[in-house]
Every structure is written in structure tokens, then in C-alpha cells.
């Protein structure tokens, strides 16, 4: 995949499949330490130790429609190509936390891409899930919480097309401000 936003979209599908009601997506741009860190944490069903040990194996999957599960292994490979790493913590019944680190300055680090589109797609398709998005750099940060957005909307569905369009603009504007600050 050419963009990190598509990897995020892919990994969050696992959280959705795990019946998560909350998904935290944190992106930290740490130029000082040459790290670009993405953390995706959910409160889904989690995994037992046996499953966790196999989860980065592309030939292991819990799906029944096919015999491979390449999402996590592809992300891991992309990270390692930039001198980074991928770790997963999980506890059955509590949730899962995936942390992937890329070399910030490495030429093979994919661009973040259309994260605004990814987030609004996730929110639109899963309005019942609380999504928290945090984007941090050394100089500024942007936080978005669907719970707070719903409070402002006072009953208007967060997945209404006009609302999603407005949210996408919110993401784009705030992320551009972060980039401008850098």
C-alpha cells in the first residue's frame, strides 16, 4: 500500500472485527529521534497468547473466507524496511494495541496520505464506534474525538453526508496547520 492512511484503514478493520467500541489512533512525528510512530489501540475482544504469537504470520488468519492474513505482516515489513519495527500487545477480553515505528527520514517511509478521508470513512461506516485521533509533532498537535463531536451534534447522526464532509474539512485544515507549523 502506498500510503500509511491505507494501512491504518486496514488495521482498524481488525479492531472492528474484534467488536471494539473504542479505537484510538495516535500518530507521533518525532523528528528529533527520527521516528514516525503510529499506535492503534482498541477495547475489542483481544487475543490469547497463542494467537498473538502467530498474528504477524501472513499464513495465519482467523478468517474463514481465505487462508492468508497479510495486513499486519505487510505493515511490519514496510516498517522494518525503514529501520523501524512493529509490536503488538493484547489481552483476551480487554483489547489490543499495535505500535508501528518507521524511520522518519527514511526514503522508503510511505507518506501518511489521505488520513482525513480514511477517518471520515471509518466514522461514516461505523458511527457506533468511538474514534479518537491524535496527531502530535514537536510544535503542535490535533485531537479529534467522535464522542465530543456527537455532543456538539446533539442527536444529528455523525454519519450524515454533510457532517462527514464538514469533519473531513476539519481534519484537512488542522493537519495543514500542523504541517505549516513544522
Amino acid at each position: 500500500m502506498t500510503e500509511l492512511s491505507l494501512h491504518i484503514l486496514d488495521i482498524v478493520q481488525n479492531s472492528i472485527s474484534a467488536q471494539a467500541s473504542r479505537v484510538d489512533i495516535v500518530i507521533e512525528e518525532d523528528k528529533l529521534n527520527d521516528k514516525y510512530i503510529i499506535t492503534i489501540e482498541d477495547n475489542g475482544t483481544g487475543m490469547d497468547a497463542e494467537t498473538l504469537a502467530k498474528v504477524t504470520d501472513p499464513f495465519y488468519t482467523t478468517r474463514t473466507t481465505r487462508k492468508v492474513g497479510v495486513g499486519i505482516s505487510l505493515l511490519k515489513q514496510n516498517a522494518e524496511q525503514t529501520g523501524g519495527s512493529l509490536t503488538i500487545e493484547s489481552e483476551l477480553g480487554k483489547g489490543t494495541k499495535l505500535t508501528v515505528t518507521f524511520g522518519f527520514s527514511h526514503i522508503d517511509r510511505p507518506i501518511l496520505g489521505d488520513i482525513a478521508g480514511t477517518m471520515t470513512l471509518l466514522i461514516g461506516a461505523n458511527p457506533q464506534i468511538r474514534f479518537i485521533y491524535i496527531h502530535k509533532t514537536a510544535l503542535s498537535d490535533f485531537e479529534f474525538d467522535t464522542k465530543e463531536a456527537k455532543q456538539e451534534l446533539e442527536g444529528v447522526p455523525i454519519n450524515h453526508p454533510d457532517i462527514l464532509l464538514a469533519l473531513k474539512e476539519l481534519f484537512v485544515d488542522n493537519l495543514e496547520m500542523i504541517e505549516a507549523a513544522e
Binding site: 456538539e152 446533539e154 485544515d173
Partner: protein, 130 residues
């Protein structure tokens, strides 16, 4: 209106509420079309995100009552992006190799006119949940 903060959402809330009331007056749950877009790794890599966004925009533009959701792998990795279309009182149909152009054709010909188009994946199953 461009919004810069969550507080700005309140300013478009009233406008959206008006649109929802209008739609509810004309809505008939029995006539709602369901579209599921496969959004597993293979689908995402093949462009399912763009297809889903296009379907949402086109359905809104055409004024069709449609519920568009994402689903996991339907098992047709060779034919991604794939979508499942369920018309009212009809069996679900899966289409493969769905580009934006194919999605437009499916909407105009199959969903609006009820005429089958090329690209159906013929399998004997009911829905992806069964």
C-alpha cells in the same frame, strides 16, 4: 461553511436536521438499497476506499436511499474491489473488479433501472454474514 473546530459543527446542525426531516417524510425502509464494500487488505490495496467514497457521493447525488457499509473479506481477493448489492426483495449480488466507472454503471443500470450488468460474481450464497 468550513469548520475549524467542533463548535462550528453546531452551526451546520440545524441545516442538516432540516434535511433529515425532509428525507424521513419520504423514506420507506422497504425501498432502501444496501451496498457492502469489501474492505480487507486486498480490497483496500485494490482501491476499495475510493470506490466506497464514490458510491456514497453518487448515491447522494442521484437521491437514492442507500445504506453503504464496509465489510471484511468476502473471499474474492482476485476480483477486488468487490461490492455486494442488495436490492429490496431481491437476492444479494456480488460484483467484482468494481472501478468508479463500474460503480456508476451498477448504480445507473442495476440499482436505478433494475437491469443486470456485467461483472457479477456468480456464487450460490445468501449474504456475507451467512
Amino acid at each position: 461553511m468550513k469548520i475549524k473546530s467542533l463548535a462550528d459543527l453546531r452551526s451546520i446542525k440545524a441545516e442538516v436536521q432540516g434535511k433529515i426531516k425532509l428525507r424521513e417524510q419520504g423514506e420507506n425502509a422497504e425501498n432502501i438499497v444496501q451496498i457492502k464494500v469489501a474492505m480487507a487488505t486486498c480490497g483496500i490495496a485494490a482501491g476499495a476506499k475510493g470506490v466506497m467514497n464514490f458510491i456514497l457521493e453518487e448515491a447522494d447525488f442521484k437521491g437514492i436511499d442507500v445504506v453503504v457499509t464496509q465489510t471484511g473479506c468476502m473471499g474474492y481477493c482476485y476480483a477486488e474491489p468487490t461490492i455486494e448489492v442488495i436490492l429490496p426483495q431481491k437476492d444479494p449480488v456480488v460484483f467484482g473488479f468494481v472501478t468508479k466507472e463500474k460503480a456508476r454503471e451498477i448504480i445507473n443500470e442495476y440499482i436505478i433501472k433494475g437491469e443486470m450488468v456485467d461483472g457479477m460474481i456468480p456464487v450460490s450464497y445468501k449474504t456475507v454474514d451467512e
